[in-house]
């Protein structure tokens, strides 16, 4: 996530960095430029007579200005993240109508705001919340929604296929939106998306712009995943006799797999709702150009200059 946050900051640097037009605005360009900013600055200011004493003063002033700008940009980013929920929620009234049944998975603040905005517009609908094991965040979301007056029902994740035949729309929040339009979400989301596709139920992803990631996923189930602690699934006390058992070649007989994330391919997603409107998964790669510079896709890269 921090990688994505940093990537996101580059968009601000575009406007902040008063870079010379010859170099395209990018984080790396700025970082490379800072040590010799004095030189560049000096070279661009032909005829500037502030040579010796002016140099150090300029350097301090410029680095201070840069820091100030960066801090301002980060604050703006935080603002954006906090306010994107409202802009997304405004679009909910176009998608949710009377007497609908919606399904959501796990917990997402964006989804909560989305649903509550529709409720405020006097649309009456029912929400099924799948609990989202092993974190069970769905319980928290259901409690919030119930407190806000929406008709909510909590179901287990295994009941998703059973219920989806009656559902009109699936609305979920995700962790990240990849450049091809696929999404990385809480584990179990692929199962929900497949069930929705089977029953021709629209699968709507609500995501703020900070979730956008410029990477194209390559084997995302393994490479973009995290393994969580197995004790969330199995209590050690009951399985202590099994835990240490090994077969002949020394491999343990019992493995517990607890992935944290799930990848949903773009063909299963019907619509993305962002603060700037609704988009198809195939359009996402255009949005990336608005927020990211092509040089910054690899954070570890060091430009040779």
């Amino acid at each position: 996530m921090t990688e994505k946050l940093l990537n996101r900051m580059v968009s601000e640097f575009k406007t902040v960095a008063a870079g010379p037009p010859s170099r395209s605005p990018s984080l790396h360009a700025i970082l490379d430029r800072t040590p010799d900013s004095e030189r560049a600055h000096h070279s661009s200011r032909d005829g500037d007579s502030f040579e010796g004493k002016g140099k150090s003063a300029d350097r301090n002033a410029e680095s201070w200005k840069l820091k100030h700008d960066v801090i301002r940009a980060v604050n703006e980013l935080i603002e954006d993240i906090n306010s994107c929920h409202e802009q997304i929620a405004e679009q909910s009234v176009e998608l949710i109508h009377q007497n609908e049944i919606l399904l959501t998975f796990g917990r997402s603040r964006t989804v909560r705001e989305f649903l509550c905005a529709a409720k405020e517009k006097r649309r009456s609908f029912h929400v099924f919340v799948a609990e989202g094991a092993p974190k069970y965040q769905g319980h928290a979301l259901a409690k919030d929604l119930g407190a806000r007056g929406l008709q909510t029902t909590v179901i287990t994740d295994s009941a998703v296929f059973a219920m989806i035949s009656r559902v009109n729309m699936v609305v979920v929040g995700v962790h990240a939106v990849m450049a091809n339009g696929g999404v990385i979400g809480p584990v179990g989301l692929n199962m929900v998306a497949l069930a929705a596709r089977k029953h021709a139920v629209p699968f709507v992803v609500v995501a703020g712009p900070h979730k956008l990631c410029p990477l194209y996923p390559q084997n995302p189930q393994v490479l973009l995943n995290e393994m969580r602690c197995p004790s969330e699934l199995l209590q050690d006390g009951e399985f202590s006799d099994c835990m240490g058992v090994c077969n002949g070649s020394g491999n343990p007989l019992l493995n517990v797999v607890n992935p944290a994330f799930d990848y949903v391919p773009p063909e299963l997603v019907s619509l993305f709702i962002t603060d700037i409107g609704g988009y198809n998964p195939s359009f996402v790669h255009r949005l990336i150009a608005d927020y990211y510079s092509a040089d910054d896709l690899d954070l570890q890269k060091r430009t040779t200059s």
Binding site: A142, G149, T153, I155, F161, A162, V187, Q221, D262, Y263
Partner: protein
């Protein structure tokens, strides 16, 4: 130089007749070679005309007459009157269902003969609960299996004719008196049927249907003289099996709990008072849901007042209520063994016949069990079998002999339908496991567990992925047993199946039942596993004994299901830190839903492994309909 080739006959673009058409009778001969295009529509009818001249004259080329297999099978068997009764007793334990077609043929004939008691379930009650004194028709119908064989060949010949037209004309031949007698019989039966009907949402598939459709078939308009009427009645009852049973097999819609009047009536008859759950999900108003806490205390306090309930049955009921017995095979075996005990301690009161009184008693035990937990489909089939056996007890047996026969019948049912069936399933299924396989299973199905253990004993090298889900977490029990036997296991949660499916080679699932449209009705979550396996192109094999098949159909998981205790959703076993929902179960906007079953569409299933062999899901209605007589001994 090539000789000039003969000019091809010009294909005159004749206008082709499209759609169904009947061939005029004068065009019976094939005649001169027709034009290639125009010969297409004409030659099939000409061949049809030639081959079955008697039957096919009015048929268009695309219509194939339905097979007359039912009558053709029945007819030779009707000529063997003395053989039919000993037959149900003869199949020994060594007879497996996959071989010995001859016995199935005989069995089917027997069953067809005896199925002149339509439906086999409540009509028996109808026949039995009516005082037999003055109703000749009822007694004729009751004794029909014997009567019809005394008629012998005459009736057999009748059988071969077109069933539908005959039955219609025969219906009209019963006299008014007979009709009224039958109607009274049904009305009396309906009163007792209602008690059961209200209590068996899942199991009354053929039950009340037999009463209701019996009523609809019975009142025919016209009348005839008595001798013809009696013969006609026997004929009618004789050809009732294929025709009427097909109709009776339409299962009556189960009791819908959102129908207020019926719920009220059922409540008045309830053995135990149950308060309905307050916070119910709207979509599931048609299913019963009760407050779990009060249910248990009520049952416990009522023990000494529940005189009719045998202690063995009471014990099994409590085990269902507390969830000690889970899994359709286990529940079915427990129930049948409890009934065995009850039959052992049963003694016929004076002035009552064993068959009728015992059936009524079984009915009352069933009501009790249903109040503890709704019946599963396999249990419903077992009950139908038992009631049928009771009804078919020969009247000449003494009470002791009858009870012994029944108990041995139950033993044989359990042995052949469950235990031996499982052995056959295991034998078939291990052929589908090869070295290096990664097998995935969901929950804790008993049949699949046996398959895995047997394959491991045979020395096959494979890995197992056990997928589990809330709230029951049954997979952990299976995991314990497999790891204890030394099988390499991976354990995961149902949400992670997309992650784990790429390394899986086969999926083995268990089923609570398989319905007639190929839908697999099993523990909730099975549909998700099958769907993801299908998306990853992994074959899905369902292991299910044939006695669990049912003629019901279902499209989705909501039409018929079971609602469990919603409070277990909010409490997470082993993770006490997660308690978001504590105390909010009573809020008016928030409901918890605990579904027990779900329906997996048949297109996700590659194969069903039963004791009849390995069949595709489309073969299930064949087994239910055509083999049902013999496989449930009805």
């Amino acid at each position: 130089m090539d000789p000039r080739r003969a000019p091809r006959t010009v294909s005159d673009p004749k206008v082709r007749k499209v759609g169904f058409f009947t061939d005029p009778p004068d065009r019976s001969l094939p005649g001169p070679p027709n034009h290639p295009i125009s010969s297409f529509p004409t030659s099939p009818p000409s061949t049809v005309d030639n081959s079955p001249p008697s039957a096919g004259n009015s048929l268009s080329p695309v219509m194939i007459p339905p097979p007359r297999h039912s009558s053709s099978i029945l007819s030779p068997l009707r000529r063997d009157p003395p053989e039919f009764f000993p037959l149900p007793a003869s199949p020994t334990a060594s007879t497996t269902f996959s071989d010995d077609v001859a016995s199935t043929m005989k069995g089917r004939g027997v069953a067809a003969a005896s199925s002149s008691l339509p439906g086999g379930l409540l009509f028996d009650i109808a026949a039995s609960s009516v005082p037999a004194s003055g109703l000749t028709t009822v007694s004729v119908v009751n004794n029909l299996p014997i009567g019809i064989f005394e008629k012998g060949g005459g009736v057999a010949v009748e059988m071969q004719d077109d069933q539908s037209s005959r039955s219609k004309s025969l219906k009209e031949k019963t006299t008014k008196a007979e009709r009224r007698a039958l109607q009274e019989a049904q009305r009396a039966a309906k009163a007792t049927a209602k008690a059961e009907d209200g209590k068996t949402p899942a199991a009354a598939s053929g039950a009340a249907a037999s009463v209701k459709s019996g009523k609809s078939v019975k009142p025919p308009p016209s009348q005839k003289n008595d001798s013809a009427a009696l013969a006609a009645l026997e004929k009618k009852a004789g050809d009732r099996p294929p025709e009427k049973d097909r109709k009776k097999e339409v299962p009556q819609p189960r009791m819908q709990f959102d129908d207020k009047s019926r719920v009220e009536k059922a409540k008045r008859r309830a053995v135990v008072k149950q308060t309905e759950a307050r916070n119910r999900v709207e979509l599931f108003r048609h299913l019963p849901q009760y407050e779990r806490g009060t249910q248990r205390t009520e049952l416990q306090s009522k023990f000494f007042e529940l005189d009719p309930v045998h202690p063995a049955v009471y014990k099994v009921g409590l085990q269902y209520l507390y969830g000690d017995i889970c899994g359709s095979n286990a529940r079915c075996i427990a129930m049948l063994q409890a009934f065995q005990e009850a039959i052992k301690d049963y003694s016929t009161p004076s002035e009552k016949t064993l068959a009728r009184d015992l059936t009524a008693k079984i009915g009352s035990y069933l009501s009790f069990l249903i109040e503890c937990r709704p019946l599963s489909i396999s249990m419903g089939n077992a009950i139908r079998f038992l009631k049928n056996r009771i009804a078919k007890l020969p009247l000449t047996l003494s009470e002791l002999e009858a009870k012994a026969t029944l108990r041995s019948d139950i033993d044989r049912f359990i042995n052949e339908k469950i235990i031996l069936a499982d052995k056959v399933i295991v034998k078939h299924a291990v052929t589908k496991i090869s070295d290096g396989d990664v097998l995935l299973t969901y929950g804790s199905p008993s049949a699949v567990e046996m398959v895995l253990l047997h394959a491991h004993e045979l020395g096959k090298q494979f890995r197992v992925v056990v997928v589990d889900s809330r709230p029951k977490l049954e997979g952990q029990l299976l995991l314990h047993r497999l790891v204890g036997k030394g099988i390499n296991c991976t354990y995961t949660h149902v949400n992670a199946i997309s992650y784990i499916m790429h390394e899986v080679t086969r999926v083995f699932l268990g089923a609570s039942s398989v319905l007639s449209n190929g839908t697999v009705y099993s523990k909730v979550g099975t549909a998700c596993v099958a769907m993801v396996a299908h998306a990853f192109r992994v074959p899905v094999l369902v292991c299910c004994e044939a006695y669990k098949f049912h003629e019901r159909v279902q499209l989705d998981s909501l039409c018929s299901n079971e609602l469990g205790d919603p409070d277990v959703i909010s409490k997470i076993h082993g993770r006490e830190d997660i308690n978001f929902l504590d105390g909010s179960t009573n809020s008016e906007n928030l409901q918890l839903l605990n579904l027990i079953y779900d329906a997996t569409p048949s297109d996700y299933i590659s194969m069903i492994i039963t004791d009849y062999g390995m069949v595709p899901p489309t073969s299930v209605p064949v087994i239910v309909r055509d083999y049902r007589r013999e496989h449930l001994w009805i």
